[in-house]
Amino acid sequence: MHRHYAALIAALVLGGCATPSQDLVVLLPDKEGKVGTVVVQGQKGKTVLNTAYASARTTSEGGVQRGTATQSEVKDVFGSALAAQPPRPISFTLYFESGSDEFTEQSKQEVKRLLAEMARRQAPDITVIGHTDQVGPDPSNDALSLQRAERVKSILAGMGIPAERILTAGRGRREPLIPAADGVSEPRNRRVEISVR
């Protein structure tokens, strides 16, 4: 009963100044402090959130009201959801000795760090992503990068990572580590990246 009275009083108080809203959207800064953009579209209006802690509430008329949320409001309303966030994915990059199936000495150390990271996580799964240099057309680079990823998958499976926890992807030449002109053979772009979730 107490809660009902409290809700009624809150509704009366709010009724005077603003329409009580059922939803709330808050934009957060990321770990580096950068802020993205979310466009909130109501039935009759919209607003663009692009600053830290900018908030939006839809009104009963279908409009969208912009505001700013406080950190304590965020903690009160979203504390449990934030506490349940999975750990952030982490990437490891591996290189092969040129023209061989062997990882470079540095990459062997990186594999150890990868295994340690997986051991720290609950039910970890990984995507092995192959990348090529800027030589040749997309289709052949896509196939080549996927081949490299598959090869690394079988190496990792051989080290005891269950194969069903490993996805593979071939990103081809779309994501060079070192920007290079078309046709440039850049060994640092011929790599395999492993994303751990």
């Binding site: 809700a7 059922q22 939803d23 709330l24 959207v25 808050v26 934009l27 957060l28 800064p29 990321d30 950068k34 993205g36 953009t37 979310v38 466009v39 909130v40 579209q41 109501g42 039935q43 959130l49 939006a56 839809t58 279908g62 969208v64 965020v74 309303v77 979203f78 504390g79 449990s80 959801a81 934030l82 506490a83 349940a84 966030q85 999975p86 750990p87 952030r88 994915p89 996580r121 609950q122 039910a123 799964d125 995507t127 992503i129 997309d138 289709p139 896509d142 996927l146 069903e164 996805l167 992807a169 071939g170 990103r171 081809g172 779309r174 994303s195 979730r197």
Partner: protein, 151 residues
């Protein structure tokens, strides 16, 4: 880009035609629970399944938490979604091309609280990720935000 996609589609159709296992594993591979506290379950095709750390999700699944529940889910494009107690989150659509990073990710928070860290789908195409509530639609251009719907 076109030839690649058509190869992927052809393979997909081939796999469909043969009724092979890859389809099932594809469907299973969209996401996994990394956190599941208290009461958390999935509704899939009208059935209620309990959800634990490591449980796979499929497109069309609905995630439900009880008064003591919360859950964290990591998707294969590295999007992270987590929900607090008394929440209902429907994964309405999920598609991700791991070569081009094109895709579509639509979810709907029917009630409760949701935290989102967007992943590769939203980074590649600013309009590809949407989160709905019963009163609004959010277009996600990145990266971290919170949504509440209900009392």
């Amino acid at each position: 880009m076109q030839p690649t996609r058509s190869i992927v589609i052809r393979r997909f159709l081939l796999a469909c035609a043969c009724g092979l296992a890859p389809i099932a594993s594809w469907a299973n591979d969209i996401a996994q629970f990394k956190v599941a506290k208290g009461s958390v379950y999935l509704e899939r095709s009208g059935q209620r399944l309990s959800a634990r750390v490591g449980t796979h999700l499929q497109a069309k699944d609905i995630v439900v938490t009880g008064a003591d529940g919360s859950a964290g889910i990591a998707f294969v494009d590295n999007s992270l979604l987590s929900i607090g107690p008394n929440s209902v989150l429907a994964i309405e659509r999920y598609a991700f091309n791991s070569t081009t990073h094109e895709g579509a990710f639509e979810s709907s928070l029917r009630k409760g609280t949701l935290s989102v860290v967007s992943g590769k789908i939203a980074k590649q195409s600013p309009d590809a990720m949407k989160v709905k509530t019963p009163s609004s639609i959010l277009g996600v251009r990145g990266t971290e935000f919170l949504v509440h719907f209900g009392d």
